[in-house]
Symmetry: C3
Subunit: 295 residues, 3 copies
């Protein structure tokens, strides 16, 4: 790596230009002898070499792919972060995937000591590529220009997007919600899936008096659905809170279940009345705006 | 329940009015706090409180749902019955589900001692709702207005239909057919499914001479299918009988296999020549008109 | 059989006519009492009575059905053979299924000692019919006019096609290709399936220098896929060979995996540069023309 970079340096003085040239080179390379890309690709940007359980990265990508198609991600020395809103701004997520979630994580920096980078990835293509590997762990080499997936037998290279072409990072509102508690994420997922059979919306309710249960209720033309999920841990309890949310979004969000190494876990919910709700699956947090009935 | 009813009695003198009011109350309740419906709902109609294996009710509903979309059912002290024909009057079923098929069965009557009731249910909605439960047994509370499904964790309420809006009960013809025998219902189901690959019609034949076998035969443009199913028990044998039937209907009817607690069982068949056939799956009997070739 | 044939002989002197009459008889029989066809059908053609593992015949039919819809097959004393090209002449297969692949194989000839025959079969109908049997082994009676499938419980008859109505046998080119080697057929199938996610074409490459690996590479607009499959046995090695092929065809061809009794096996590949490739799955060999990029 160091060698390669030195060599690159001798070509141009203006880094900006070099990057441009490099991009073209990379492009050309890919079109002709992509197989050799691995040994030659280099930039003055850092390059992330990481190894992660396939299950983990798979679930993570699936969870986000329900909300958006393209994600801007920020790669730094000790974590990958991403905050994106869906096109209609009803739902946003915040991801903070620490290096400790990886089997291996190393950002090989340029001469600048701590040079992370931003890049854009196509979530549906990632989903397809991850399916191609039957390895338990997968090696990922990430540069601003491309992502290389390496398994025991095969390797796949996907071009990345220029992050400036992707929607900007949304502002995360500062919410103080009266209720905060944990429920079993599988119970939640089932209740959401059942509610979707009854209507498009669902009411989430935490009743002060019935403090032990979190109620999920859908009312449709033909009947109603009601589910009482046991509250595993009651963290904040300042009164009753209930809001109505779109089941389209909740169905996608609930896919984040078993995010952590594929094991069922608790989901932390923050809830207010006619307020956005916060749904926290370990290192992936969703914020979903309520539907206010205009009556 | 007794308590609840007494309480209701003190509220009004005119029972008719009470029911009306109750209906509105129930309606309102459902829209707002459906969760409490369970403890408060009551009418002067009987209300059935029953518990049944999910597998049993599931298969029953699926079997009927192939023939019709909406069923008029009659709930009485010791059984639920229903007799319906499909819209084109080619196929009819007769259901007689005795209380003994239930884990629990109790009709809480009004002051009239034996007040059963009639109501209408949407079979496709029932199918969807039953999928929501992973309980082995399911509690069903049935009133003329609604059906409440109660599992360990969740409850679902479906509105019922006014039975007067559903097609009237068909006349069941009095048939005396020359052949009556039992075959394995799984063998029958397979033969029907295979025949459907060859043609739209199938000939069912019980040959006097080959008394041990029941023959299912389909002839199509490209070839033929012939299946010889062993007759498990020969009940009535007065000559050869053969008729042709539509495979569309037979495919739906054959879904009633394993109706009884999910175990494979015998199917009783009555057959004549160019006559309707009677297919009896335990407590659910189908009657299917033949196709007469106009030659 | 001998008896039956003698009887047939007394009827007519002119064999040609007899066959015609027989055909009509068979036709009539099928329309009326197809169940008895088994004991009465006979011709002066040979009739093949064979028994084969359902798995074997199933995979074979599926493999060929990807290339063509109707196959002309030649039945002889000790094997069934078939050579067909797809309608666009890009891909052809050559099948040589020896009697040793069958559990039982007997061609009952006419008075001519070694009278095989040619007939035409509908592969999609065969696929459907094979699904109807849950037997481990299946009996097949093949005459020029029809195929009878006999299982423990059921029998299905399919009419055959007149082989003269089916596309003629293609000329098999005489190729001498510089590379010939064996790889694991499952590895190959996976690589083909993955490549199809990236593009419509794939490059197959055997590099002289990297003699241990066979490289499958697809380059698309969004990225690239590269798979290195270990060469299990290197049979012929005269230089580097690489050609590009259509993934549509390769996907169908790769279905022939596990052809031999359902066990994974090696696939023998012959490869040249911008030349057709030969893919040999035991007794079924495919020949696929390359795509030459017009640059």
């Amino acid at each position: 790596m160091v060698e390669a970079q030195t060599e690159a340096k001798t070509k141009t003085e203006d880094e900006e230009t070099e990057v441009e040239e490099k991009k073209e080179e990379v492009e050309e390379e890919r079109n002709q002898t992509i197989g050799n890309a691995k040994t030659e690709a280099k930039t003055s940007y850092g390059e992330l070499e990481a190894k992660i359980k396939k299950k983990t990265i798979n679930r993570l990508i699936k969870s986000i792919a329900g909300i958006i198609d393209e994600a801007r991600i920020e790669v730094s020395k000790d974590k990958i972060t991403s905050t994106m809103a869906d096109p209609s701004n009803v739902c946003m997520y915040n991801l903070e995937l620490k290096d400790s979630e990886f089997e291996e994580y190393g950002l090989n920096e340029g001469e600048d000591e701590d040079r992370g980078f931003e890049t854009g990835i196509d979530l549906n293509r990632w989903k397809k590529v991850l399916k191609m590997f039957d390895d338990r762990k997968i090696e990922i080499e990430l540069t601003p220009e491309e992502t290389k997936f390496i398994g025991d037998k095969r390797e796949v290279v996907l071009d990345n997007y220029d992050p400036s072409t992707i929607q900007q990072e949304p502002k995360v509102p500062d919410l103080e919600l009266p209720r905060k508690f944990e429920v079993d994420e599988t119970d939640f997922k089932e209740a959401i899936s059942n509610s979707a059979e009854i209507n498009d919306n669902v009411e989430l309710k935490a009743d002060e008096e019935e403090g032990e249960h979190f109620v999920i209720e859908a009312n449709g033309d033909a009947g109603s659905y009601k589910d009482q999920i046991e509250i595993e841990e009651d963290i904040e309890n300042e009164g009753t809170a209930k809001s109505t949310y779109s089941l389209d979004y909740l169905t996608d969000i609930a896919k984040a279940s078993r995010l952590l190494s594929g094991k069922p876990d608790n989901l932390e919910i923050e809830l207010g009345t006619d307020y956005p709700t916060v749904l926290r699956y370990d290192y992936l947090t969703f914020l979903l705006a309520p539907r206010i009935e205009s009556e």
